[in-house]
Symmetry: C2
Subunit: 296 residues, 2 copies
Amino acid sequence: MTAKIIDGTAVAERMRTALAEDVERFKAQFGYAPALGAVLAGDDPASAQYVRMKRRACEKIGIESITHEMDANSTQAEVEAAVRSLNDDPRVHGILVQLPLPAQLDEEPVLALVSLDKDVDGFHPINIGKLAMKGREPTFTPATPTGCMVLLEDAGVEIAGANAVVIGRSNIVGMPVALMLTRANATVTLCHSRTRDIPAIVRQADIVIAAIGKPEYVKADWLKPGAAVIDVGTNKIDDPDTAKGYRFVGDVDFEAAKEVAGAITKVPGGVGPMTITMLLQNTVKAAWRLTAEKVV
Amino acid sequence: MTAKIIDGTAVAERMRTALAEDVERFKAQFGYAPALGAVLAGDDPASAQYVRMKRRACEKIGIESITHEMDANSTQAEVEAAVRSLNDDPRVHGILVQLPLPAQLDEEPVLALVSLDKDVDGFHPINIGKLAMKGREPTFTPATPTGCMVLLEDAGVEIAGANAVVIGRSNIVGMPVALMLTRANATVTLCHSRTRDIPAIVRQADIVIAAIGKPEYVKADWLKPGAAVIDVGTNKIDDPDTAKGYRFVGDVDFEAAKEVAGAITKVPGGVGPMTITMLLQNTVKAAWRLTAEKVV
């Protein structure tokens, strides 16, 4: 058996085309574009690259970007002031604070400052709290976990009643995707660095979300035949056979796993393209919400 | 093998004695008592009784109670005004809104209104969100789940690395206790009404938290020998052999389960007495926090 390959690039492309049309409607109605404000503090090359990618993705579908590029030595007060100015700027509909912040800064108060109406990253504790609670609706949900859920649904994976295993309990992927799967009526087991026997737990899973950041960590013989596997990892490994001398692999041993799984994402081309797409979707949603409020 | 019986009444008693001493210290220092404000809307007898029990427990250790008893026909605005007045009252350190509210009222905005500094029930979405997030500390954690954790620790149960199964995903017990167990490095599986095979999942658990509200639902032969079992249920069942014609049982078939488990709580006398104790503890903590802020 060879798994169905879940093509994140194709799903993301389809969604971005629809979003571009939605942005056109927005512009036609209001005469200006939805806008995403970003705070980028410091000179971490990966962060800078990530912000550039987001900006390009915004431009492509007609969303404006306003980036506060800040010095690596920025103070807490300066970064908080940047967030406040984006909160107060009526042209800005969504705000993203690129993490990690430089070491001297405290991330928690910066993120807590982001206006709930503009929290397109979905990381405000109120949004995470509502995600955990029955009968509550977060205004925005975090991009990567939402992307995982969209890919599962798009692939026709039955979530309600399924046994789902999430490997990794990070604030940005593992924990929120576990909460989202529980909301969707899966029975979720959340594994992490202190879990005793991850392979034994994965073997019982109908759905596996690998978000632990270890190259090709999940092996084919851990998988229940037919399981749906979403690989969130993007790990750079040396590979002298490539022109660049390296390549990216996921947290799952893809080549072997695809012979056991029922459906599986590739790396790259799986969750990656979905993350930015969900951020774009949240930004367009924020623009409609904020503008509708103004009109009323 | 007969399980160690985890005696919630004894643990609660010990904690309340220590809390009474803490309240004495507080009074000696500031000349007034910590105070818990409660909003009780409607005439649900169970809610009224629960508020009375809380008030008596407060009195016993020297905490003052201020209860807003409100009509079953109270409007949203009236109940919200009651919460606001408790927020603004400097004599009040903790606020509890007795749930469920009458059907015409929307619980979410009422709970969201409770000042974070007085959220001794720990149900504000910010506190739940922080409970879910690594590197965040909720100001207060909900009473019943905290009581479960204290009982496990008191019984010497190793939580880190253990496989824990939580049955029931309610906002007040199941979900927050799952988050607390994950924070304590257990590997948590959260089961609920849509879970396919609860017995098979429970069989793998070193720690079982039963919070599903079904009398004697968890059977002895579901348990891994030696497992620690915390029974959160309190279910009233008919029993013609008792003077009252009924008695209370938990969510676990205690008599049979105690022959398999390593440690187990009784009902009554397990989690029940801990719930109010943790509310008292949160109230005393709130009083110190708010007063220290005033002094500084």
